[in-house]
């Protein structure tokens, strides 16, 4: 996501930061590159033009040209402008979903075919369920074959697997389904009856999953207007595929004109899209982006924060989101316990795997690392092999309780057994124990000592423990692996011989 865009913008500004001063032409030519980068990222051209013009004017006005660090000044300016571009208008609510009294709050999802409405229904339901709000999903897509069936399965899955103890209801009238174009308008009645059921069941939120439609399909757009009039939904969300092209703006505009959309949910953000849609859709409709979908799982829905997104676009990382993710997975109590164990050097294999598991629950490793400042562009060609992490868990699971508490117990035959049990080789197990011992030592030093000790621990880390996350061995310069390779006895001997 955004990788290529941020890379281009960064390299542009790197070029000008190298220089001492920059004149007006310099600003303009730098912004020309930014313009190309934005266009290639499918940002709508009108938006691009306005954006670049404003930056140029302000850059000259703010006397970036007189600054000694024009590159930094420009990045700061572009960063602020990006935030402005994506921020909701002053005075509007920043709550992702505004809940109304009396319940139910009615939420309607609409969008083009294949934008991800049904999946997003499930994600929203999971989001609300986790926050203690009961939900009813209503199937208003009577066009696409098996759309009703799909939503039903989604509702059941979220109901049984989602966090939280409230119920996820489902409403549908499967007999009303028909071939494309033959059931137009029927959805209005279905939605009305769903609302009745939602009131009876006393759910907090009713979510309407409408059929995908083209914004130029008048009949189907009229159907949406019909639902809008009949139910008067409190929130209407437009679902937009983050990979959408220049036409994104036209369709968003059309939906907005007919329905006065309250918010936008961008889906498929976990692709490598340059995310131009995020920038343009908000700017033409004025409706704020509420959520972004970042994966196939139901919990892969993030609240949208313009500030953080601007940071990600410019490759500044997004530490705030990362910390939030961590907080959702690790309780404070656990964290304190762990810190104690670290300080006393009593970190066990169990603790290690527990940590690893909670990190992995936060999302794919690559996505997490991408949120660290400066790491995003470095990760571009790195494949994080999640399988190796599975393997690691497998090895620990093959150890006895005693072994996990004290890995010094591991002798040749135990190692052999563990390798067999986890489908790995003794070399793999040995590697793991070595790395783990290194980490034990390191964490003890980190936790227990002052500044000097920490520095020493850092050094240790770069010597060999820096590769604690397996599967990332081809990672460039994170931890300096390979720089201080220790030679084997034989090769040392050979070298000495040569010198003579």
């Amino acid at each position: 996501m955004f990788e290529s865009l941020s890379e281009k913008v960064q390299s542009t500004f790197r070029n000008i930061s190298g220089r001492g001063r920059i004149d007006e032409d310099g600003v303009r030519s730098a912004m020309d590159d930014v313009r190309t980068a934005l266009l290639e990222a499918d940002v709508h051209q009108d938006v691009v033009k306005q954006f670049c013009d404003e930056v140029v004017i302000e850059a000259i006005g703010q006397e970036v040209t007189k600054s000694l660090k024009p590159g930094e000044e420009m990045i700061g300016l572009v960063h602020q402008k990006l935030i402005d571009l994506m921020s909701p208008p002053q005075g509007t609510s920043t709550d992702p979903i505004m809940l109304v009294e009396p319940a139910p709050t009615i939420v309607m999802l609409c969008g083009l075919q294949g934008s991800g409405k049904t999946t997003t229904c499930g994600k929203l339901a999971a989001y609300l369920k986790q926050r203690g709000r009961s939900v009813m999903l209503a199937a208003a897509d009577l066009q696409r074959p098996a759309a009703v069936e799909q939503l039903k399965i989604v509702a059941e899955q979220v109901d049984t697997e989602g966090k939280g103890n409230v119920k996820v209801h489902f409403y549908a009238e499967p007999d009303k389904c028909s071939e494309y174009g033959k059931a137009t308008g029927v959805a209005v009645g279905v939605c009305l009856r769903a609302l009745g059921e939602a009131r009876k069941a006393k759910v907090d939120v009713l979510i309407l999953d409408t059929a995908g439609r083209l914004h130029i399909d008048n009949d189907l757009m009229k159907e949406l207007e019909g639902i809008n009039r009949a139910l008067n939904p409190h929130q209407i969300y437009l679902i937009v595929d983050a990979m959408v092209g220049q036409d994104a703006v036209n369709s968003a505009k059309a939906f907005h004109q007919r329905l006065a959309v309250d918010g936008i949910i961008l889906t498929k953000f976990d692709s490598d899209t340059r995310g131009g849609a995020a920038l343009s859709v908000k700017s033409v409709t004025g409706a704020p982006i509420k959520f972004i979908g970042v994966g196939e799982r139901f919990d892969a829905l993030e609240e949208f924060h313009p500030q953080r997104m601007a940071g990600r676009i410019l490759g500044m990382g997004d530490v705030v989101s990362l910390v939030e993710k961590a907080q959702a997975e690790v309780s404070e109590e656990d964290a304190e316990k762990l810190a104690e164990k670290m300080a006393s050097g009593k970190l066990t294999m169990d603790d290690f795997v527990k940590q690893l598991k909670s990190i992995r629950r936060m999302g794919p490793m690559k996505q997490l690392l991408g949120m660290l400042p400066g790491v995003g562009s470095m990760l571009k060609n790195v494949q994080v092999d999640e399988k190796q992490l599975d393997q690691l868990e497998g090895m620990v699971n093959s150890m006895t309780k005693k072994e996990r508490d004290d890995i010094k117990l591991l002798n040749k035959s135990r190692i052999k057994r563990i390798a067999k049990g986890s489908g790995t080789t003794p070399t793999d197990v040995n590697k793991l124990t070595k790395q783990f011992e290194m980490m034990q030592k390191m964490t003890k030093q980190m936790a227990g000592t002052g500044f000097g000790g920490k520095m020493k621990a850092m050094k240790e880390m770069s010597k060999g423990g820096g590769n604690l996350i397996p599967g990332m061995s081809n990672m460039p310069t994170l931890g300096g692996r390979g720089s201080t390779k220790t030679l084997g006895v034989k090769s040392k001997f050979k070298q000495r011989k040569k010198r003579k």
Binding site: G114, T118, Q150, M243, Q246, E386
Partner: protein
């Protein structure tokens, strides 16, 4: 001779639909105006808006500027012709019909990202195969998404063709394995495989797709005869990245460009041709099963510029 042979009448019939779909207002922009710098920059914007892509647009505009400087083009009308030629010239004469195996079954593997329109495209292909008197077997190899199998099953009932499916959550490669066996045993002419949508950034899912392809190749020599990548025409330049990754995983032989009936201007075909060279074989221009056409660069560009 393959499927979807582009007969003149078919093009003409289809062109109306394509014109409706991809017309981008060039004619009204250019008619009666003299070419000047302002018009050139308007053309540039129009090309970008049509998703032609920055690289292709830049090169076309550069050529146009040169021609303008050399006084080869003066009037807007001539510009229209110039642009058309610039674009049409990018395609070589080639066979864009779907491949047919010498010994049946012909296997068509269909893949793409989530929501690109795979299942609808599979139904469209199946319908036209049937209309040509061929027997078809469908394989529901999307065992991941909720009710994906049911969706394809409804199409198989409406189209009256057989279907092979698996349990939800089962290995799609196993479904494909069974489908290959069934296709051989039942002597069908064509086996069309619908796979789960996957983002090209998901390496494990891309490997799964490679495995599916390998299973097909092992079961039926020479298969899959056609590997179609379904691209959403409303997707922007990211479609190119998608195609690159899919091509690497399953050796894509053709592209099915779906949802051209949006107001997307279809310029993405230019970028596809420039960067990938994978032939666009079919275009989807509407919701009903008959809304599918063979892609022909000349008539497509005519449609794009004449409307």
């Amino acid at each position: 001779m393959g499927l979807f042979s582009t007969t003149v009448s078919a093009i003409r019939k289809g062109l109306a639909r394509t014109r409706e779909a991809v017309g981008s207002g060039f004619r009204s922009l250019l008619m009666g105006r003299a070419l000047d710098d302002e018009l050139i920059s308007e053309i540039e914007q129009r090309l970008i808006a049509a998703d032609v892509g920055v690289a292709a647009t830049t090169s076309i505009i550069k050529n146009l500027r040169q021609a303008y400087k050399d006084k080869e083009i003066v009037r807007g009308e001539d510009t229209l012709e110039f642009l058309k030629q610039q674009l049409i010239g990018r395609w070589e004469e080639t066979d864009r019909s779907l491949a047919v195996a010498q010994t049946k079954p012909t296997v068509i593997l269909v893949a793409g990202i989530n929501g690109s329109g795979k299942t609808t495209s599979v139904a469209k292909i199946t319908k036209s195969l049937k209309e040509q008197g061929r027997t078809v077997l469908l394989a529901a190899a999307d065992t991941y998404r909720a009710a994906a199998t049911e969706q394809l099953e409804i199409w198989s009932n409406r189209l009256d063709v057989q279907i092979v499916k698996g349990e939800a959550g089962s290995d799609p490669a196993a479904v494909v394995f069974d489908a290959c066996d069934a296709a051989i045993a039942r002597h069908v002419d064509a086996l069309v495989i619908d796979t789960a949508g996957r983002l090209h950034t998901q390496d494990n899912l891309m490997r799964q797709l490679t495995k599916i392809r390998d299973v097909v190749a092992k079961k039926i020599p020479g298969a899959p005869h056609e590997v179609l990548l379904v691209l959403d025409a409303t997707a922007g330049q990211n479609a190119i990245t998608q195609a690159k990754v899919f091509a690497k995983a399953i050796n894509v032989t053709g592209i099915f460009l779906a949802k051209l009936d949006g107001t997307a201007k279809g310029g993405i075909v230019v970028a596809i041709q420039d960067v990938l060279g994978i032939p666009v074989k079919l275009i989807g221009v509407g919701e009903t099963l008959d809304d599918v056409e063979a892609f022909d660069p000349t008539s497509f560009m005519q449609a794009m510029f004449e409307a």
